[in-house]
Amino acid sequence: MARVSLNKIEKVYPNGFKAVHGVDLDIRDGEFMVFVGPSGCAKSTLLRMIAGLESISGGELRIGEKLVNALAPKQRGIAMVFQNYALYPHMKVYDNLAFGLKLAKASKAEVDRRVREAAALLEMEHLLDRYPKQLSGGQAQRVAVGRAIVKKPEVFLFDEPLSNLDAKLRANMRVRLTELHRTLRESGQPATTIYVTHDQVEAMTMGERICVLKEGRIQQVDTPTNLYDHPANAFVASFIGSPEMNIKKAAVETGGVRLGSALLPLDTAKLAGRSEVQFGLRPEHIGTVQRPDATLVNARLRFCEHMGSEVYVHFDLGNEAMSARVPADQIGTIATAERGSAIALQFQLGKAHFFDAETGLAIR
């Protein structure tokens, strides 16, 4: 059973580039933690530092109670699944799974039992006699996961494991991996998981907590719903959610905020003393149906994207480009409206977020 704790972890490359800036994070025992962020946010670097594949320039990394900064990967009690699967091409699936156990000098019977157990758990007993080149992407991915499970590690590390799969398979594997984590945890096995992805859908659906990173700094660590409902800053707000939150500079006036030419009536009590803020409203909080908590706003239509069950409406409010996410059965005449025509939209201003105009920090 292991928790992972990062204390002021830093990474400085030999050329002086600082990739990770003093990261503090506690991952609980058995927890499914997701690291998410755009390319270059150092999420993979951080994972590789936990794995022992990158050196740690500063701070303390503990797995369980043990300080592991200077330990080799094999001494850390971890297993890792790589983006490109990294299966050994010259070994059959069985040997790929057994390799780590054989190195650890486990008995032949023990190796066999654990390999078959893992294969059964992942429904891939029929693949054991194949070579990696005879596997499809999804199967190779399962073998890579199997190789991790067989070792019964304290901590599982996943480095964008689904990004090479097609959309349908990815959705399927997402569910499988989440289920696998819960199965392991419920059966009392160590299941602490750190999962790196740039895909916020994966992050939201799989993570029990999500750590949002940007440029080597943690932006927010919280549950998916809290990240969505209470983003700590404008970056987190725009990163989580699709299409991304409309975040626009707005002037604070008595009785509301002014966005271009439109004055949005709002309670500005918490904005007291500010002349300018960043106003944020998620596309799903802009609709076409009249509601008691919604305010009618006139906008100019740019174009619609039909997604099947819903429609993304892109429009201009004054000079600001914004988007709305409207259920297809509520889209009405907007679907056929001309480009540039006036449309009426309902803004749920009660759901609006405010961020500091300079720092981007949430104003609560």
Partner: protein, 286 residues
């Protein structure tokens, strides 16, 4: 150039022109070899009088006489000697070059770039330059007239071309697998043995083939370091059969040259599939 112009030269319209050209060039290249094989069945007189390569009769006497040689040893001894040089040399070459190539391709250490440049630089150095100092050194070590001067230098990865080839090949292999092996519990040496060597197989086979052919063909090395006839490899023995008597029995020399070619040709064809893959990909992937 328009696509029409390319099409007019394309294979659909005049494939035979292309094949005739290829066959002609191939004939020019291969004729000496064909002639050699044909001449090995001829008598000495027929060699001088007939232009064509087809012998009037298939006479194996030249092979028998050539094999016996004019010395007290048969070619069996010389072949054995060649293998006594070749096989240990190939083994130490593969081990040393893989180790050094692995270090250059995968590890960061002080002075790596400079050392790599020096190593590449030695590839440009004519071997002749090294002969004298090496000869003096081996004389001090009392290694003259033994196979050690022909084998031991290769144990220190002095065949830099092979090191370069392996480095280039390794650079084309993604590191994921090595990292996975590290996490599975391998140390650097186990990563090399369990993961990289199997992946390096094509490159290693290329090293084996090149080193085999080059060592079998090496004339200068044995000539300089070996004094006793009983230690001569095939290359020296062939030369000896030319100069042993004033009247050279060309038929014998030619017959035994053909036999001397066989091991290299066999090794090449046995390894051809992997060899081509290794020699080609080391260039492309780098």
């Amino acid at each position: 150039m328009s696509t029409g112009a390319i099409d007019s030269l394309g294979p659909q319209k005049t494939p035979w022109v292309r094949y005739v050209m290829l066959v002609l060039v191939a004939l020019v290249m291969l004729y000496p070899l064909l002639w050699l094989v044909g001449a090995s069945f001829k008598s000495n007189r027929e060699i001088y009088t007939e232009v064509g390569f087809w012998p009037s009769s298939f006479d194996l006497k030249a092979f028998v006489r050539g094999w016996k040689t004019s010395t007290e040893y048969t070619f069996a001894t010389y072949f054995l000697n060649s293998f006594l040089i070749c096989i240990p040399r190939i083994i130490v070459t593969v081990i040393s070059c893989v180790l050094v190539g692995y270090a250059f391709a995968r590890f960061e250490f002080w002075g790596k770039k400079l050392m790599f440049s020096i190593m590449i630089g030695t590839m440009m150095l004519p071997l002749v330059v090294l002969r004298l100092p090496q000869f003096l050194m081996f004389r001090e070590l009392h290694w003259l007239d033994s196979y050690l001067p022909l084998i031991v230098p290769s144990a220190f990865a002095t065949d830099t071309f092979f090191v370069f080839m392996i480095v280039q090949f390794l650079r084309g292999i993604p590191r994921d697998m090595e990292e996975a092996a590290q996490i599975d519990g391998c140390n650097a040496m186990q990563v090399l043995i369990h993961v990289l060597v199997p992946l390096l197989k094509p490159a290693i086979i290329s090293v084996v083939v090149f080193q085999f052919i080059w060592t079998m063909n090496d004339f200068m090395g044995p000539l300089i370091y070996l004094a006793s006839v009983e230690k001569y490899p095939v290359s020296l023995a062939l030369k000896m059969s030319l100069s042993a008597t004033e009247n050279v029995e060309w038929a014998n020399v030619i017959a035994i040259s053909v036999v001397a070619l066989i091991p290299s040709v066999l090794v090449f064809f046995a390894a051809q599939k992997h060899f081509v893959e290794g020699a080609a990909s080391s260039g492309i992937k780098g």
